[in-house]
């Protein structure tokens, strides 16, 4: 019987510092067969761990068409993440996955895409941006609204020039505040201020939202006010998980297991659930 609790060793090939507390880890499975069999969809996550410390769920943040490696963008906030942050290139992480329901890439084909991200919430949406760039003709107009606390908290800033070169792709940025001495030429204010300038309209559009739940709460509210339907808005939810495979019960919200039924849900599915902010 295959044991889904057994993780596979993956070597850290590269570590990139994104912000003062967040790094992107490029990983490659040691076992060739595991590497060959591994294939994720944008929005899915892995359970990543260090033996002796523990495991936690992390969204996969890399190009889904890349077969050699995958990436996780990790903020140091707890035991597992602080331990991972201390690792160096060549060290081993233990990975099992991919798990969970991905972003609705298939449903989005032939349609426009609106992405709204807050802070670290851009991480699980980065594979979507890669996918769009790789398969540009399969989608209509793509617009990304991204907000962070300060310009220094923005993920993937060095990649944004490349993103802007994608055909028919608009990237709009805002920050809550600009610290003294930091250059900033975009908007200031919470992410919903970008609604004032966005081109996206409800017609023929799929919306993908990820960020802190309080941010998603206001984003969804603003979108619904602008005529977007609850079933065209997709959210990625986050909860504590100990198993990732629908057994341990930690990530349950009402009748949904975030690990198995999500992490991506429509707002229509999320709205009636208890114990949430969005």
């Amino acid at each position: 019987m295959a044991n889904p609790y057994v993780p596979h060793p993956a070597v850290i090939k590269e570590i990139k510092t994104e912000t003062r507390d967040t790094k992107t880890f490029r990983l490659e499975f040691l076992d060739e067969n595991v590497k060959k069999a591994y294939q994720f969809k944008p929005g899915q996550f892995n359970m990543v761990g260090v033996f002796g410390v523990g495991e936690a769920p992390f969204s996969i943040t890399s190009n889904p068409d890349e077969k050699e490696y995958f990436e996780h963008t990790i903020r140091a906030v707890g035991n597992v993440t602080n331990t991972i942050h201390k690792l160096k290139e060549g060290d081993i992480l233990w990975v099992r996955g991919p798990y969970g329901r991905p972003w609705p890439i298939e449903e989005a084909k032939g349609k426009n895409i609106l992405i709204v991200a807050g802070g670290l919430g851009l991480a699980p949406l980065r594979p979507v941006i890669y996918y769009i760039a790789n398969h540009r003709d399969e989608f209509g107009h793509v617009e990304v609204l991204y907000g962070a606390r300060t310009p220094l908290d923005m993920l993937y800033r060095s990649e944004m020039d490349e993103w802007r070169k994608i055909k028919d792709f608009t990237l709009r940025l805002t920050v809550d505040m600009v610290p003294e001495g930091v250059e900033w030429e975009h908007r200031v204010g919470v992410v919903t201020v970008l609604f004032e300038e966005m081109d996206s309209r409800p017609e023929n559009t799929v919306v993908m939202v990820c960020g802190p739940e309080i941010m998603m709460h206001f984003v969804v509210k603003g979108l619904v006010e602008r005529g977007f339907a609850k079933n065209q808005i997709y959210l990625s939810m986050e909860r504590r998980m100990h198993c990732g495979i629908g057994k341990c019960g930690h990530c349950q919200i009402g009748s949904k297991f975030v690990c198995r039924d999500g992490p991506v849900f429509t707002f229509e599915e999320v709205e009636p659930l208890p114990d949430k902010i969005v």
Binding site: N3, P4, I245, I253
Partner: protein, 341 residues
């Protein structure tokens, strides 16, 4: 279904017969309680018990178990999967607990991923059920059709008819066991009639009742009722309700490393959604910080959510969560009040 008779004086031989191939775990007296424990002879059994404190789930999903072992031998740790114990007979399991195991099977075995440890133990386990000949103070199994008689979910089912047990065979594994024990005689129609008469009497003696029709609708309508805060004010969030619940499966996982840092274990342990930390997330967030939210999550999981997920109630009416709750917080009472009866 094949029906046979096991005379009570044959029970020691029957247990011997089982022990040739299986470890036998059954109800045993321990202090003022009856617990499921391994037995070596029939005299160890306490078959007139009503309900154990800890349900037999502990045999299939132990309170604490190692799910992985690791050795730091060189740069890359070596990972080992522990083997599960051998073949077990769970003897004398009451119908509520048999039905609870059916719920655990759905959660832990069905779906894309199997829990490998539970699934292997389940494959290695024979269930010899025991219909109830008396009900406890807190029982309400008749509400869910999970007792006092079992309909399925057992390999063999016994009913105490006084000087003899009626033996019903439910599966091939059960059939193999009774075929290997030649001393059983055929049951008469009168034995079956006697079983029905006993079960009817026990069912009639159970007065506590949850109305299950439209229960989901009722509870979803009443999700913000003041009763939840009232119950939460009583609740100590101690988690005993989840510990003694035969269908509670939630677990936590923790790594433990030896003092010399040479090896360690990944351990899972029964966790409880009644604990403050259960739904805590990074940076101090918690999605069920209040006892009302946690108590409601537990009761709704049993009576609404698991039904939406797996089509069955997560409550089998065993009454343990009421009996062992320091404040006797009672879902029967809660639902009765909410339905206005």
């Amino acid at each position: 279904m094949e029906t046979l008779i096991l005379r009570k004086e044959q029970l020691p031989q029957f247990i011997e017969h089982l022990r040739r191939e299986y470890r036998v775990v059954g109800p045993v007296k321990k202090g003022n309680l009856v617990v499921f424990a391994e037995i070596s002879k029939a005299e160890d059994l306490q078959l007139d018990y009503v309900t154990t404190m800890i349900p037999p789930k502990k045999v299939l999903l132990p309170q604490r178990e190692t799910i992985l072992k690791f050795k730091f031998e060189n740069e890359t740790p070596k990972v080992e999967q522990p083997a599960v114990d051998g073949k077990i007979v769970l003897f004398g399991v009451h119908p509520c607990d048999i039905n609870a195991i059916k719920v655990l099977d759905k959660v832990l075995i069905e779906g894309e991923f199997k829990d490998p440890y539970y699934a292997q133990r389940r494959e290695n386990t024979v269930i010899i059920g025991l219909n109830c000949t008396k009900a406890g103070e807190y029982c309400f199994c008749t509400s869910f059709g999970t007792g006092p008689g079992a309909k399925d979910g057992f390999d063999i089912l016994l009913t105490d008819l006084g000087d003899r047990f009626l033996v019903e065979v439910g599966t091939d594994a059960g059939k193999k066991i009774v075929e290997g024990f030649k001393e059983l005689s055929k049951a008469e129609d009168a034995d079956i009639a006697k079983r029905d008469e006993i079960l009817k009497k026990v069912a009639e003696s159970i007065k506590r009742r949850i109305k299950t029709e439209n229960l989901e609708t009722l509870l979803l309508e009443k999700i913000n009722d003041k009763i939840w805060q009232e119950l939460a004010d009583e609740c100590l969030a101690c988690g005993v309700c989840t510990t003694v619940c035969p269908t509670c499966f939630c677990y936590g996982v923790i790594d433990r490393v030896s003092a010399d840092f040479k090896e360690g274990e990944r351990i899972r342990y029964w966790d409880s959604c009644m604990f403050l930390e259960f739904a805590a997330v990074a940076l101090g967030g918690n999605f069920r910080p209040g006892r009302d939210a946690r108590l409601k999550h537990r009761m709704y999981h049993k009576l609404v959510y698991i039904k939406q997920q797996h089509g069955v109630f997560g409550c089998v009416g065993c009454g343990r969560c009421v009996e062992f709750c320091v404040k006797h917080i009672d879902p029967v009472d809660a639902v009765t009040r909410l339905s206005g009866d």
